[in-house]
C-alpha cells in the first residue's frame, strides 16, 4: 500500500511538472501568435499610408482628388492648433452621444411599454414594421422643418435610426424569456412589476447591453447624415464643405478623425459592456 502510494506521489509530481511545462509552452505560443498578428496589422497600416503618399507624389493618382497623408496630417495638426477642429469635433461628439444615449434609453423604454401592454404591442406592430423598413434619413428634411437646422434635428434624425431597432431587439429578448421562470415568480403571487424587475429585465440584460454596440455605429451614421443635411458645423459639415470647395485634404482629414473617434467610442462601449456583464 505505502509503496504504491509513494510511487503515486512520485508520478504525480512529475506529471504536474510536465503539465505546467506544457501549459507554459501553450501560453508562449499564444503570445507569439498575438504579437505576429499585431505586427502584421501595424505594417499593413504603415504600408497603406506609404503607398498612398508615394502614389500621390509620383503622380499615379490625382493629388487634388485623393490628397496625400503628409498633407492630411498637417491639415489635422493645423486645425488642432487653431482650435477649429475641437469646435467641430465637440459638436459632432455631443450629437452622437446624445443620439446614442437617448436612442438606447427611449428604445428600451418603448420596449418596456409594449411588453407591459400586449394590446399596445399588437396595435403598434405594423407601424413599427413600416417605420423600421423605411430609410429614416429620408425623413431628415421634415425634421429640419420641424426642429430647425441645428443640434435638435440632427439628434432626432439619429434617434429615428436607433430607437425602433433598439425597441425591436429589446422587446424580442423580453418575449424570449423562459415563461417558466415567469411562472416561478408568479407562483409566489408576484405582480407584473415584480415579474418585470425580477425576471424579465435581468434576463434581458445581455441583449440590452449588446444593443449599445449596435447603436453606437448607428448614431454615427445618423449624425453624419444629419450634418450633411444641415451643414453648419461638425465633422459631417467639414466633409460636405471640403467637397464643395474642392478641398479634399479637408475631406480626408475629417474621415480619418471620424474613424479614430468612432473606434474610440466603440471600444469604450465594449469596455462598458464587459464591466456590466462581468458583475453578473
Amino acid at each position: 500500500m505505502n509503496k504504491a502510494g509513494a510511487e503515486n506521489t512520485g508520478t504525480a509530481a512529475s506529471r504536474s511538472e510536465w503539465l505546467s511545462s506544457r501549459h507554459e509552452e501553450f501560453k508562449r505560443a499564444k503570445r507569439l501568435r498575438k504579437r505576429a498578428v499585431f505586427a502584421v496589422q501595424g505594417s499593413l497600416l504603415v504600408l497603406f499610408f506609404a503607398a498612398w503618399e508615394t502614389a500621390a507624389r509620383l503622380g499615379w493618382i490625382d493629388r487634388l482628388l485623393f490628397s496625400y497623408p503628409s498633407k492630411v496630417f498637417r491639415q489635422i495638426y493645423v486645425n488642432m492648433a487653431d482650435g477649429s477642429l475641437w469646435h467641430h469635433l465637440g459638436i459632432t461628439l455631443g450629437e452622437t452621444a446624445a443620439g446614442f444615449v437617448l436612442g438606447t434609453l427611449l428604445g428600451t423604454l418603448l420596449a418596456v411599454a409594449i411588453w407591459w401592454s400586449p394590446f399596445l404591442s399588437a396595435v403598434l406592430d405594423p407601424y413599427m414594421v413600416v417605420f423600421n423598413s423605411m430609410p429614416k434619413v429620408a425623413l431628415g428634411p421634415i425634421f429640419i422643418v420641424m426642429f430647425g437646422a441645428g443640434f435638435t434635428s440632427i439628434v432626432v434624425t439619429t434617434l429615428s435610426i436607433t430607437i425602433i431597432v433598439t425597441t425591436l431587439v429589446v422587446y424580442n429578448s423580453f418575449c424570449g424569456v423562459d415563461p417558466n421562470l415567469v411562472k416561478v415568480v408568479r407562483s409566489f403571487g408576484a405582480n407584473r412589476r415584480q415579474v418585470f424587475f425580477k425576471v424579465i429585465l435581468p434576463s434581458s440584460f445581455p441583449a440590452i447591453v449588446s444593443t449599445l454596440k449596435v447603436n453606437v455605429g448607428m448614431s454615427w451614421v445618423g449624425v453624419i447624415v444629419g450634418e450633411f443635411l444641415v451643414a453648419k458645423s461638425g465633422l459631417g459639415y467639414l466633409i460636405i464643405y471640403g467637397f464643395q470647395v474642392f478641398n479634399f485634404t479637408l475631406v480626408m482629414s475629417s474621415l480619418i478623425i471620424i474613424a479614430f473617434v468612432a473606434t474610440a467610442m466603440y471600444q469604450l462601449v465594449v469596455y462598458i459592456e464587459k464591466v456590466l456583464l462581468s458583475r453578473r
Binding site: 417558466n180 421562470l181 408568479r186 407562483s187 409566489f188 403571487g189 435581468p202 434576463s203 440584460f205
Partner: protein, 266 residues
C-alpha cells in the same frame, strides 16, 4: 372548517390555434387540512395541469376551485408550488434563488435569511449558498427549488415530482425529511410522483388518474399504520407490498387504455 382544496367538476381544455385538447375532465376532489395526497398516473394524464389550476396559475375552462374556502383567482403566497423542473434564475446565487419567495412577498429579513440558510443546510446544500445554479448538479438544483418553495412557509404545498432528479439514497432521505417536516407543522400537501412506492410511503391518500381525458380512476386510502410511519420505514410495514401491487396493477390498466401499457415515466 372548509377543506383546504376543493375542486368541483373541474374541466380544462388547452386551446391552441391548431387544436384544442381536453387535459382534465369533470374532476371532483377534496383535500382536508393536514392531508398528504399523492397524484399518480400515466404521463400526460393532467397531473401538472391540476397542480397549476390549484396554484391559481391556470384558470380552469370550467368548474370551481376553492382553496381554504375561498375561490381561487390567482397565485397566492399561502400556496407553495414547486414546478416539475427547477427553473432557478441563472443570474442569482443559490441563496438568492432560495430566498426568492420571501423577497417577493416582502419578508426577506434577517430571520428569513437565517431560516433559508438552515433549510439549505438541511437539504445537504451547506456551502453552496454563493454558487450559481449553473455550478450545481441537477439533483442539487432540484433541492434548491424545494427550499425555495418551503422557505415561504405556505400552508398548502404543491410538489410536482420534487424528488425525480435525485439518486435513490438522497431521495429516501429527503422524502423522510420533507414528509416529517410537513406532518409536524401540520401542512397540507399534494405530491405528484411517478414512483408508486414513494406515493404510498409518504401519503395519507393516493389518487390514481387516467388520461384522455384526465379523470380520477381510483382512490387508495393508505392505512394509518403505513401513513403514520416515517416514509423510510413505511416500506417495511405489513400491507405495503400488497398495496403496492394493487396500485401497480391499476396503474398498468390506466396506462393501457391507449395501448401504451405500463408507461409511467414522468
Amino acid at each position: 372548517m372548509p377543506p383546504v382544496v376543493e375542486l368541483k367538476s373541474v374541466t380544462h381544455a388547452y386551446l391552441g390555434d391548431r387544436e384544442a385538447s381536453l387535459a382534465v375532465e369533470d374532476l371532483n376532489l377534496e383535500i382536508r387540512d393536514g392531508e398528504f395526497v399523492s397524484l399518480v398516473g400515466p404521463s400526460g394524464c393532467g397531473k401538472t395541469t391540476l397542480l397549476s389550476i390549484i396554484a391559481g396559475l391556470l384558470p380552469p375552462s370550467r368548474g370551481e376551485v376553492h382553496v381554504n374556502g375561498r375561490p381561487v383567482s390567482g397565485p397566492s403566497p399561502e400556496v407553495g408550488y414547486m414546478l416539475q423542473q427547477d427553473y432557478l434564475l441563472p443570474w442569482r446565487s443559490i441563496l438568492g434563488n432560495a430566498a426568492l419567495g420571501l423577497e417577493l412577498t416582502g419578508r426577506l429579513d434577517e430571520a428569513g435569511r437565517k431560516k433559508t440558510l438552515e433549510l439549505l443546510a438541511d437539504m445537504g446544500l451547506k456551502g453552496t449558498e454563493h454558487y450559481y445554479p449553473g455550478q450545481l448538479s441537477g439533483g442539487m438544483r432540484q433541492r434548491v427549488a424545494l427550499v425555495r418553495t418551503l422557505a415561504t412557509d405556505p400552508g398548502l404545498l404543491l410538489l410536482d415530482e420534487p424528488f425525480s432528479a435525485l439518486d435513490y439514497q438522497i431521495k429516501l432521505q429527503l422524502e423522510d425529511l420533507v414528509a416529517e417536516t410537513l406532518r409536524r407543522r401540520g401542512k397540507t400537501a399534494v405530491l405528484v410522483t411517478h414512483d408508486l412506492s414513494e406515493a404510498i410511503a409518504v401519503s395519507t391518500r393516493v389518487i390514481l388518474l387516467e388520461r384522455n381525458p384526465g379523470r380520477i380512476r381510483r382512490v387508495f386510502e393508505i392505512p394509518d399504520r403505513i401513513a403514520n410511519t416515517p416514509p423510510l420505514y413505511a416500506r417495511d410495514q405489513p400491507g405495503f407490498a400488497e398495496l403496492f401491487h394493487e396500485l401497480w396493477k391499476e396503474m398498468e390498466l390506466a396506462g393501457k387504455i391507449e395501448g401504451t401499457a405500463g408507461k409511467i415515466e414522468g
